[in-house]
Symmetry: C2
Subunit: 195 residues, 2 copies
């Protein structure tokens, strides 16, 4: 992941997006109030509009930031392709506030993308990047011998994120504990990776 160099402007923008993601996770995209985000971040609503122009711009930037944060907390590059792939996927479900909030916001924004064309194309781009990253891990596993050659990297890259999203939904609604959700996710992923 390319992280822009830290600067006061970037730090402020990141803080505003963090507050926005929390508000979306709590109130949903439709219930999201810009004045509440301003209150959380300790700034004026005018500053938020200065950075993101309008509500639609803020939602779009929040969706991109959710994707960036997820890439940061699911990074693995030290084991076999198979081990790193499983670790990357399991890291989408963790007992960390930032992971839960990020996952809930992703789920909300994805739901809104059903109706919101602008969100929809950003969502598609983020999904495509997620699928590509997984396909790359599958290829790495095939090269190092930890994954079966019969697996189709592109197909697996599309399928595993959907499985993460499905298991996460049951985790976020409390149907599954973090431990149970991770165990189910691992067992499904292992079944898929048998090839």
């Amino acid at each position: 992941m390319v992280t822009p160099a830290s600067s006061p402007t970037n730090d402020r923008r990141t803080a505003l997006l963090g507050a926005t993601i929390e508000e979306i996770a709590l109130a949903g995209t439709r219930g999201m109030r810009v004045d509440e985000i301003a209150r959380r971040a300790g700034v004026s609503t005018a500053l938020i509009y200065h950075h993101f122009t309008n509500r639609a711009g803020l939602l779009l930037a929040a969706l991109e930031h959710v994707g960036e944060r997820a890439e940061a907390y699911t990074d693995h590059a030290d084991g076999t392709g198979r081990d790193d792939l499983i670790a990357v996927l399991l890291d989408e479900i963790q007992d960390e506030a930032v992971v839960r909030v990020n996952s809930a916001a992703w789920s909300e924004l994805r739901g809104s993308a059903i109706f919101d064309q602008a969100l929809r194309s950003t969502l598609s781009a983020l999904r495509a990047r997620w699928a590509d990253d997984i396909a790359d891990l599958v290829r790495r596993g095939q090269d190092d011998g930890s994954l079966d050659r019969s697996l189709e990297p592109v197909e697996v890259g599309l399928q595993l994120p959907m499985i993460v999203e499905g298991v996460s939904a049951s985790w976020l609604t409390g149907t599954l504990s973090t431990h149970e959700a991770r165990a189910h996710l691992e067992s499904i992923v292992v079944a898929i990776l048998r090839g």
Copy 2:
């Protein structure tokens, strides 16, 4: 599924719930307007409150109705346990307006259940019934020899609905066509059912 005998009161209730599910699929649970449901159904808002007491009662009845409708359009009992199980799951994704609307409303109501305790317990009960139905199909497949004895019916019963939900999310947002979504779902389910 036990269907109550048709009566004018039941027919009216079903029509109101159908209009509610359409409105939820279109506007979300937070954006859902009772006057818009009344307009769709051609009745007064007073009649809706007469049947469902309040907004919370209407949401709860809608969630139950989404579950009943899904049971009705995913019913299979004429093949092997394995074939019926795969057919039941694939029927969750169909190019029929009622299926798409039902799936979008389920996804919306599930999202709201993160915050809404009353929805949460009904959602858990519906999920448990769904999981039980799938576990029964797995046992039937094990009895008729179409499924491997090593499969854990309860575990598979919990996992397959999450996979349906995950693939449906990509279908509802248009990332996958109906054909693609069904193909991915089938390939994942077949991998799980290898045992």
